[in-house]
Symmetry: C4
Subunit: 258 residues, 4 copies
Amino acid sequence: MSLSNRIVVEITEMPKLRNPTLVCGLPGSGFVGKLAVDHLIEELKGVPFANIYSSSFPPQVLIQSDGTADLMKNTLYYCKTESSDLVLLSGDAQPVSPESEYEMAEEITKLCEKLGVKTIYTLAAYITGAFTKTQKVYGASTSPQIVKEFPKYGVYPMNSGSITGMNGLIIGVAKRKNITGICLLGETSGYVVDATASKSVLETLATILDLNLDLVGISKKAQDTEQLIKTIKEQMGGRQSPESLAIPQHDKKLGYIS
Amino acid sequence: MSLSNRIVVEITEMPKLRNPTLVCGLPGSGFVGKLAVDHLIEELKGVPFANIYSSSFPPQVLIQSDGTADLMKNTLYYCKTESSDLVLLSGDAQPVSPESEYEMAEEITKLCEKLGVKTIYTLAAYITGAFTKTQKVYGASTSPQIVKEFPKYGVYPMNSGSITGMNGLIIGVAKRKNITGICLLGETSGYVVDATASKSVLETLATILDLNLDLVGISKKAQDTEQLIKTIKEQMGGRQSPESLAIPQHDKKLGYIS
Amino acid sequence: MSLSNRIVVEITEMPKLRNPTLVCGLPGSGFVGKLAVDHLIEELKGVPFANIYSSSFPPQVLIQSDGTADLMKNTLYYCKTESSDLVLLSGDAQPVSPESEYEMAEEITKLCEKLGVKTIYTLAAYITGAFTKTQKVYGASTSPQIVKEFPKYGVYPMNSGSITGMNGLIIGVAKRKNITGICLLGETSGYVVDATASKSVLETLATILDLNLDLVGISKKAQDTEQLIKTIKEQMGGRQSPESLAIPQHDKKLGYIS
Amino acid sequence: MSLSNRIVVEITEMPKLRNPTLVCGLPGSGFVGKLAVDHLIEELKGVPFANIYSSSFPPQVLIQSDGTADLMKNTLYYCKTESSDLVLLSGDAQPVSPESEYEMAEEITKLCEKLGVKTIYTLAAYITGAFTKTQKVYGASTSPQIVKEFPKYGVYPMNSGSITGMNGLIIGVAKRKNITGICLLGETSGYVVDATASKSVLETLATILDLNLDLVGISKKAQDTEQLIKTIKEQMGGRQSPESLAIPQHDKKLGYIS
């Protein structure tokens, strides 16, 4: 294997799954998707079976808490639940150039074909630019049928705009391989790492997939988020937007993509 | 088909056409070209026959009004009019890098060779930076013979400068395949989505191609543009340039490339 | 031929030359090199024999004074003088990305191998950032022997720094093909299109190559440059640098690379 | 050989070495690594045996003190010491794009496999943003075993963050080829070319590798650095950060990457 081949997929074990569904949570605005999928991996005891390396990830190694260094990568996990088999995708980064984002979406959906995946969920952030009281979950899909079912699950259908980056491309490329793509977007200000939005998205996903999911861990993180937002609002006084504030970082390890 | 191959052309039906002419209207300054070609597609009942996908389009999916998501693409339509057969090119985006713009121009002109296209028109914006009273149409061509005929149709020949992006490259690459290239540029301030400029370009094109074209739809949009410019001018008072104004967007769905 | 192959060389006629020398003058700071080589082409009646197109040139067509449009390109000319055979390289642009600059240098030196070129001169600008009274010509070479001969021709050897872009890469890549590379750099402020610097470089080149060269044309342009600099200096009053002045463009057609 | 192949390795002589260790010192923040490795090359009389050229290095030639010009390159040296055989990597530049950094790391580690290298050290800067009194050396490794041994050599293990550029990628890619990677980072403000940090890193490396190393040369340069920092601190008065100062360049030839 050579990283001159831009994308390298290393599979340690190809799991046998029944009609699995892929759920993607890559790092992005507010880390909404990543926090959600990392919670799924933990709660559902996801088993890692493949790493994806790419020369289009940021050129650096990440230092782990034990002092060891490793290239940036995305990792695939599988888990078998009562209701359905799941494949979970988490990772350190998204590719850094437009063309390599398309390539990565192609690679991930190709792997989905091999695994028999029929439906892909990408979990993302719906940025409002303001701290709202609601915690809506928005949705878009490559299938008009799915869009019609959104209200049944309390999902607000998007009807304009775009979904940028891997969360959009994965479902767009999936459509061309006859895999249904759905993006669930948690409403977030865009100013903080937002576990509250992650929790809302997870609740919606659990309902749709009929998952029996313990949400204690993500609920605790959501309380931290709410406390942080409360603090910021107090600093803001009557102002409408926190843009001019020095916002404390909620999670130093994750960092924050504004 | 795989999007790792940068550009993918998906043809649903290869039409049989007599000496067809291609008219391109991709999104660009003021959406002059795109509005014009979209009007042609509607009025002449263009039949879509090919989609062009590319990993050099912006990495995102667009959400349609029905809530469904699709990759960005360019689409080719054909229509048979009394005077001539036309191929019409419209799309969501232009490629994001210089090299992929050349590749896309190569791909489009290759398709033109297969369709027997002998002449290509690209519809573009001639940016003045100011609101003018005139609605001139400028022109450039790869053929000196065509340039000489411009005044006959009220087209002002350009004699310096450059035409950037796909509107320039498509005719430049076409020349190297012995296809005549013509660019018609509608005079526009560059500050608003300008249906008035689109209308002028369409009138000129209809005259050149001897098209019987209903312009009611674009005329209505042109009235909206004129109303918008009037409002901006009032806000400007005596100032020469609207650059410091917060300009309201004419068409939120299209957005605006400044 | 397809521009998907990044660089395309179209040769209309491969000239037979005796130990030819290549002189390159691509657009760059102050247009020092381009003005000089364009003068050589005119005075020595250079015969064009090859065009180089590239998808790494800026994505646009240039409009000629007769209203016709063409892709950006570099062009090679040959001429046989009493003292030696010359190949002259002029062009509309340099490639836009680092990697494509290396590729272009590779392509040009490959062509040199086929033509039997043993020595390459690139003509460039030595930017001082100030209007100086002197018109020095600096030099660098891949051959220490040549560097030793510089003072004989009034050339000041550089002894640190770098030569960026095609002027540097062409001689660097040439060295690896056992072709001697020499860069002559005309001292210039970097603020204006500088025909005076071009003239100095041409005088030096003519001496080295023992060329019988009429310099009337470039001398006239040099007078324009001197007049322009005089005007700017008057506007500057006692200030040291013209950076804060609105500097009139000397040659609108060429534009100006600051 | 053609530079269209992005990376070209030219080997003049493939040395036979016993379990060699590679030490890399490419130009980066404070030139900490480059100064250190250049000192090793000088003191241990390293023999150059391979040059690496790449179209992803900055597109320019460097002018040597004798007036000659050459493409940017990385160079590999070998030396046989009493304790162990070493391969030393120094160079003019790092690649300019993320993808070509991965490719270069791949190429260098491939060469390591051929040479039988089992361990790679990259020497880097640990930027603090302030002038500190200490001269700590930090470390990270692909091997948890090595991390545990760090305190024995006075190396502070990193436990979060990332190592960007070639210093990180080389050890990350090496890990995937079963070569142990270690990065030693000298504490530096990030504001000056810092030979003091280089000296600290060299002392640590000499201890780990049991090298008998004369440090007189680098110690002299370290004194210059200390003098420079003292001058800056005086200019700063009571201020905390030197960011707003015009900082004199310590080493004009090396330049400075801020």
